[in-house]
């Protein structure tokens, strides 16, 4: 489905409510899809692009399971319309490993047993990498405060925080 050239069409005029051609740039690949305007970025990723790593928890901006990056900033894909992402770069959990090697944050989550059921984990990891890149991982209090938008029903918080501290302290571009 992905083709490797990115030029979003110029957008003019009212679109919808029926399906419209939409071009999404996700993890460096360009995806031409047909979407209704009401489709969230989360549903577009999961249902149209088959990128099901991003999870749907509450679907109302409360839980953080759907956290992705748009232009490098962590956002909630459930409250973002896919159509509004045209011309912007979307990054999901599927895109952070490189050359078959886990991102340091993914490895740290494994090493620290930072999940139980795993449902919140993609969102936690996308948030955690961004957290370090933002410079918001300085203290334990900073980590707790700036990760508060990612809920973990299994209460793996101590392990999640340990994983974040390890990547932060490794100083090897964990926020890439």
């Amino acid at each position: 489905m992905a083709i490797n050239q990115s030029t979003a069409p110029a957008v003019t005029g009212v679109r919808g409510p029926e399906h419209e051609p939409v071009t999404l740039d996700v993890n460096g690949s360009t995806y031409p899809v047909e979407l209704e305007p009401r489709v969230s970025l989360l549903d577009a990723l999961r249902e149209h692009l088959d990128l099901t790593g991003t999870k749907k928890g509450c679907d109302q901006g409360t839980c953080g399971a759907c956290t992705v990056w748009v232009d490098g900033r962590r956002v909630l894909s459930c409250l973002t319309l896919a159509m509004s992402c045209e011309g912007h770069q979307v990054s999901t959990i599927e895109g952070i490993a490189s050359d078959g090697e886990l991102h340091p944050m993914q490895q740290a989550f494994i090493d620290h047993d930072a999940f139980q059921c795993g449902y919140c984990t993609p969102g936690q990891i996308m948030s955690a990498i961004a957290l370090i890149r933002e410079g918001n991982a300085g203290t334990d209090a900073d980590i707790a405060e700036h990760m508060s938008g990612n809920i973990c029903r299994c209460q793996a918080y101590p392990n999640i925080h340990a994983a974040i501290r390890e990547v932060r302290d490794a100083d090897d571009d964990g926020g890439r």
Partner: protein, 329 residues
């Protein structure tokens, strides 16, 4: 829950955005979407056309001639909170921004959108219960319902929904000004009159015309704000709306009297609540705990409480006294 079908327009200019919304009574601007997409999916609001204003060149922060700061309406909460000119000149405003929502939501939510965010009243949000704000004339389920989080100031018999914003509390204390462009041109609205108390028309929350777009917020120069603070008391340590919050800034003269004070409350009002009575009670008087308590008493004197939210009166008074004692030093 599936959203009703909608149409979508990405606005290329402010004029296009204003024309598109003012020309369609069932339309709405779409900014960060953090409240709007949620309420669309819940069926609480039902525009058929969304006009996306996120691409408009309104993300700036810039100094204005009088020493204040102009904040573009599309500037995101997280960017404004960390902008050096905000942190240095209005630290209480920066704190208010960072104490709202989560980092993901702050990355999305715009300053203009924050001004238009809707109440978290569960009866408003459920799309079914009688609610005068959602469906005028249907009644208010909160009056005799679960109302622990509801307002005690600025209420009416029609609505006791709490205004949810943190940064708006700072902005009313700072006498900020909302700048808009609408079908009839540009105008400015003092932020305190931007937020309308429910009265007999709880569905009317601000004086904007349909199609009138917030383009900027002006925060005037205010030296006393350089030592301002914002404290937020809530049920969780993070990512929760306020039960009581306080924005404060105060200057005490050499004789120990209050020379200047700005005080506003969140979590207790139907609008971001400027504590005018408390300010008047404090000006020119000795900055003592007794006078702080008297000012807090004056502000809460007309509180309209129900059994579940009556605790907010004592809570707010104590929060005011503590903040005034802290901000002095």
């Amino acid at each position: 829950m599936t959203m009703r079908p909608i149409t979508f327009l990405r606005a290329g200019s402010i004029d296009d955005a204003v024309a598109a919304v003012s020309g369609n009574p069932d339309s709405a601007f779409l900014a960060g979407g953090t409240t709007e997409i949620d309420l669309l999916r819940l069926g609480v609001i039902q525009p058929t056309l969304l006009v996306d204003v996120n691409e408009l060149p309104l993300t700036y922060l810039e100094d204005v001639d009088d020493g204040g700061v102009r904040i573009g309406a599309m500037a995101r909460m997280s960017d404004v909170a960390r902008a050096p000119r905000i942190v240095e000149r209005y630290p209480g405003m920066a704190q208010a921004l960072l104490l709202g929502a989560s980092e993901q939501l702050r990355n999305m939510a715009s300053m203009g959108g924050n001004m238009c965010q809707r109440t978290r009243c569960a009866y408003f949000r459920d799309g079914r219960s009688p609610c005068n704000k959602r469906e005028p004339g249907s009644g208010c389920s909160a009056l005799n319902g679960v109302n622990r989080g509801h307002a005690i100031l600025g209420t009416s018999e029609q609505c006791i929904a709490t205004h949810p914003s943190d940064v708006a509390v700072a902005l009313v204390a700072l006498d900020a000004v909302v700048r808009t462009i609408g079908p009839d041109g540009a105008r400015t609205i003092p932020v305190e009159s931007f937020f309308l108390r429910p009265g007999d028309t709880p569905s009317v929350e601000h004086p904007l015309e349909h199609g009138e777009l917030i383009v900027a917020i002006d925060v005037p120069d205010l030296p006393v704000a350089r030592t301002s603070r914002y404290v937020k008391h809530r049920d969780r340590a993070s990512y929760e709306f306020a039960l009581v919050s306080v924005f404060s800034a105060m200057r005490v003269d050499d004789a120990g009297n209050v020379a200047e004070v700005r005080l506003a409350l969140g979590g207790v009002g139907t609008v971001p609540w400027r504590a005018h009575r408390a300010e008047e009670a404090l000006i020119g008087r000795p900055a003592t705990p007794e006078n702080f308590a008297a000012a807090a008493d004056a502000e809460l004197a007309d509180a309209d409480t129900r059994p579940m939210n009556a605790f907010k009166v004592t809570f707010a008074k104590r929060a005011i006294v503590r903040e005034l004692s802290e901000v002095i030093s």
